[in-house]
């Protein structure tokens, strides 16, 4: 397996003052799912934006290090070109074009690639076979569909571009547990079926680690730990701080709160 995406020591600065990401190095293997975990404000979303080039519209900038996609540096490319090269960023909060119908949303997703109606039609059929629910909703204005359906829609829209790599920002945010399960099944399915490599940012650490092969933990703009997903899941610290489980594996209860606080065993 080869490396499809590698970040080497990148630093991201907003407005030329605020240093948000401080020397992050990470790699995604071709065809794998990699999870990036971390508390709010750790810089996860910023990393995704740095990869997809969307930082520019927020006055952010990659000031140090390099981002390579299949060996080609991409940190100076425009977002449109990056999509064309095969990286699709599915943003947080599953934004859709609310005034357009579901099908129009999907067609817009193919903008970077093709104009030919036959090809677009073929792609639409493919997406509808992945997400039968969307087919029923195709004529609906996308602003009115439910959160879970919208998540399918934005993932589907991303797939219309035939990405080699997908950046998913908190796909499970604010969804009911059953829907979350469905969404994670979809992510696994997309990874297997379309062979798309996935970089996943999540708060739902347990679910994310169980579908991914490798994981990185971020804190305050730094990667503080990384490892094979299964190992991370067993790591005492991760269990305590990210999975909310105590040593015995039961849910933590305030009745048994320890007198001392467990400290993180890394330098944040």
């Amino acid at each position: 397996m080869s490396v499809i995406l590698s970040l080497k020591n990148i630093e991201v600065t907003y407005s030329e003052v605020i240093l948000v990401v401080k020397g992050v190095t990470l790699e995604v293997q071709e065809g794998s799912i990699v999870t990036l975990l971390g508390a709010n404000g750790a810089g996860k979303t910023t990393i995704l934006k740095a990869i997809s080039g969307l930082l520019v519209s927020e006055l952010g900038k990659v000031t140090e290090g390099s981002i390579e996609f299949r060996g080609i540096p991409i940190q100076r490319e425009s977002p449109e070109n990056i999509v064309k090269m095969g990286i699709v960023h599915v943003m947080e909060g599953r934004p859709s074009f609310d005034q357009l119908t579901v099908e129009e949303n999907l067609i817009v997703g193919a903008s970077s690639r093709t104009n030919r109606p036959t090809e677009i039609k073929k792609d639409l059929e493919r997406i509808y076979s992945y997400f039968p629910k969307l087919k029923a909703l195709r004529k609906k204005i996308s602003g009115y569909i439910s959160g879970g359906e919208k998540q399918m829609l934005v993932v589907g829209r991303g797939l219309m571009a035939h990405p080699k790599m997908m950046l998913l920002d908190e796909p499970s945010l604010g969804l009911a547990p059953l829907i979350v399960k469905e969404i994670f099944e979809i992510i696994e399915f997309v990874n297997k079926e379309a062979g798309t490599s996935i970089l996943l940012v999540e708060q739902n650490a347990l679910a994310a680690l169980s579908i991914s092969s490798y994981g990185y933990i971020m804190e305050n703009g730094r990667i503080v730990m990384d490892g094979v997903a299964a190992n991370l899941k067993d790591n005492e610290d991760i269990r305590e701080f990210y999975l909310g489980l105590s040593k015995v594996g039961k849910r933590k209860s305030y009745r048994h709160v320890k007198h001392y606080r467990r400290r993180k065993r890394w330098l944040g």
């Binding site: 997809s52 977002p79 449109e80 005034q99 129009e104 817009v108 903008s111 104009n115 602003g143 009115y144």
Partner: protein
């Protein structure tokens, strides 16, 4: 009753011109979120280009028409490249003020050209009158109505049914999201400016056949902005309806209210009064987009 219908008809035909021009303003606003004043000048320059071709160079009508539209498109493209593109990412108000600056600059150029004189576009539309029952329609007005509104309708169709149109609508909604979907937003801006300038030129030619080319011509363009505000800045259908509405109301005011006052001229004001009331009741205009928000 006949008078009433006659006023209605005249207003309707004038309203078509307003509609056509309001559509150009709405197009630009929809895509770039900038209410452009510059299009008032593009309107006037479209008429001047047409005048050059048909009266000075003596080209055939259809050729003059196409050349004028093409030149207006180029003008729009240049304005976008030189003044609007560097401001992408800056506050929208800056862009708005820039369109004002462009308006003032081109106004100077326009006035240098007209130099206080009036230039007449040679009549190229049918000149007779036709009657429907007791109503009289000037054929020139009627054909003008069709000539200006038809291109607007074509553009609307393009917006609605073509792939590029779909991308424009997507861009109109969310620039960043459109970028992340692989749309070249800057190219879309250029296309929009070219299209809207062409439409403005058509409206300009329509205006100039009625009121000729002299210094107040660009200010008709400002009325387009007013009409667009009445209809809701981001609704094309609203712009067309509002144009017709404003035309009819002005015509009725001219017919019924003006004779009652000593000086007349109420028709000049009535559109602004209408705007005032509509904005009080519906701040987004008659058909302005209600943002879809699920709670």
């Amino acid at each position: 009753m006949t008078y009433f219908l006659q006023y209605l008809l005249i207003g309707f035909l004038t309203g078509g011109l307003y509609s056509a021009f309001a559509v150009t303003v709405v197009l630009v606003y929809k895509a770039t979120h900038v209410a452009s004043l510059a299009h008032g000048q593009i309107l006037a320059f479209g008429a001047v280009f047409f005048y050059w071709c048909i009266a000075v160079l003596q080209l055939p009508i259809s050729v003059s028409f196409l050349v004028a539209l093409a030149l207006a498109g180029v003008l729009g493209f240049i304005i976008e490249r030189l003044t609007m593109r560097p401001l992408i990412g800056e506050p929208l108000f800056t862009s708005f003020l820039m369109t004002f600056a462009v308006f003032m600059f081109l106004d100077g150029v326009f006035n240098l050209y007209v130099a206080g004189e009036t230039r007449f576009i040679p009549p190229f539309l049918p000149q007779g009158n036709m009657g429907i029952g007791k109503l009289i329609i000037a054929e020139q007005r009627a054909s003008n109505f069709v000539m200006t509104l038809l291109p607007a309708l074509i553009v609307i169709g393009f917006f609605k049914y073509s792939k590029v149109g779909l991308r424009m609508r997507a861009t109109a909604e969310n620039h960043r999201l459109a970028q992340s979907a692989g749309i070249r937003v800057k190219n879309i801006f250029s296309i929009i400016w070219i299209f809207s300038s062409i439409l403005a030129a058509v409206a300009g030619i329509g205006c100039a056949t009625i009121m000729n080319i002299h210094y107040p011509l660009p200010y008709n363009g400002l009325k387009g902005l007013l009409v667009a505000l009445v209809g809701g800045l981001d609704s094309i259908g609203g712009a067309i309806l509002a144009g017709l509405l404003v035309g009819v109301i002005e015509s009725l005011a001219a017919g019924y209210v003006d004779p009652l006052t000593e000086v007349g001229g109420t028709s000049e004001v009535v559109a602004y009064v209408l705007l005032l009331f509509i904005l009080l009741v519906k701040p987004y205009g008659l058909f302005g987009l209600a943002r879809i928000e699920r709670i």
